[in-house]
Amino acid sequence: MDRLKPRVKIPESAKPDEVMEIRTMISHPMETGYRRNTRGEIIPRHIIDRFTCEYAGQMVFEAKLGPGIAANPYLSFYVKAVSTGPMTLTWHDDRGESQQVVKQVNVEL
């Protein structure tokens, strides 16, 4: 089965200079690397360590995540609507994998 799609909620449309709330959540184990399995072996760390949001040609939000973040990280933040165009959200994990969601932001003039 394919990986579960990250959940992203962006307002369908916004007025210029309106502050939009962006809500995101990704399905991820966020294994800390400190836990041991029943045989005493360390369960390898597997976490999302970086999240970025690009919009209107620039990085508008970036987050570094550590092993203290619980499974299925939920992030919400605010972005000012400036122009109609795609918003690219990317989650990077410490195994070099990434998941990306692109959403269209519509700004009504």
Binding site: M1, D2, L4, K5, R7, K9, R23, M25, S27, P29, A70, A71, N72, Y74
Partner: protein, 256 residues
């Protein structure tokens, strides 16, 4: 000696007969597991975005309409007319004379009508489909009527519920009926209703089926769990559903 034995057997029979005949008592005003949650967890369950169970609801919707391997579920079933489906399961299968739960019905459809392989009860696909269908019924009231056909299975489910098991020698009823609302270490014991399953449990960090929860409970009293989809668990599922009559479906619920 034989006479004594037969006499005691007779006595046992006499004593237990009224118990078996009596109509089981319904829980009055059942309390959903939701009401035992802390305020943040209640908020999380209500929030259709942040509730992690919705990952599976989303993927279930995709699977339901997935026609990449031939006909999709959605080609025959109109999701708009399926809002009551989860309320009807487990249902009685007259041909095999047994109860069939939703997962088994999905597999029957897959094998007989979609030419696909049956899914494991706890597979990601099965959880997604049951979560999606369960979510369609969200807010609907559970109202199970035990019929003549389902009565034997209902009784078996009830018998399971009241039977002591495991090294701790506890039945379901000892905790979830007699002690509901009391504390067990840091937790408050709930009435143990099934209206939120498949549910997202924090200790699993994942969505899990009702039968996974049964296994978890059985292991908690140090009993050997049954298999998911076993007859024992399906009868228990049916009994529990009846026991929660009057509650609304909360799938995907958030539980601790």
């Amino acid at each position: 000696m034989a006479r004594v034995a037969s006499l005691s057997l007779l006595l046992c029979g006499l004593l237990s007969a009224p118990l078996l005949m009596a109509e089981p008592t319904q829980v009055k005003d059942p309390i959903s597991g939701f009401d035992y949650l802390s305020a943040p967890n209640q908020k999380l369950q209500r929030d259709e975005f942040a509730n992690p169970g919705y990952f599976r609801v989303d993927s279930g919707k995709t699977l339901f309409n997935d026609a990449s391997q031939g006909n999709a579920c959605g080609d025959c079933h109109d999701a708009a007319t399926m809002k009551d489906v989860t309320l009807k399961y487990p249902r009685h299968d007259a041909e095999a004379d047994r109860l069939v739960n939703l997962s088994q019905q999905i597999n029957e459809c897959r094998v007989e009508r979609q030419n696909r392989e049956a899914l494991e009860p706890e597979s990601e696909e099965m959880l997604s489909l049951t979560a999606y269908l369960g979510n369609l019924s969200r807010g609907r009231t559970i109202d199970v009527t035990v019929t003549e056909e389902t009565r034997p299975f209902f009784e078996q489910g009830r018998e399971f519920y009241y039977r002591r098991r495991g090294q701790l020698n506890l039945s379901c009823a000892h905790c979830h009926e007699q002690s509901a609302g009391k504390r067990l270490r840091g937790e408050v014991i709930s009435e143990g209703h099934s209206n939120g399953y498949p549910a997202y449990r924090h200790i699993w960090e994942a969505l899990g089926s009702l039968h996974r929860m049964f296994q978890w409970c059985n292991e908690a009293v140090r009993a050997q769990p049954f298999d998911k989809g076993s007859e024992e668990y399906i009868n228990l599922e049916y009994y529990l559903k009846w026991r929660g009559n009057g509650l609304t479906v909360e799938t995907p619920a958030v539980r601790r």
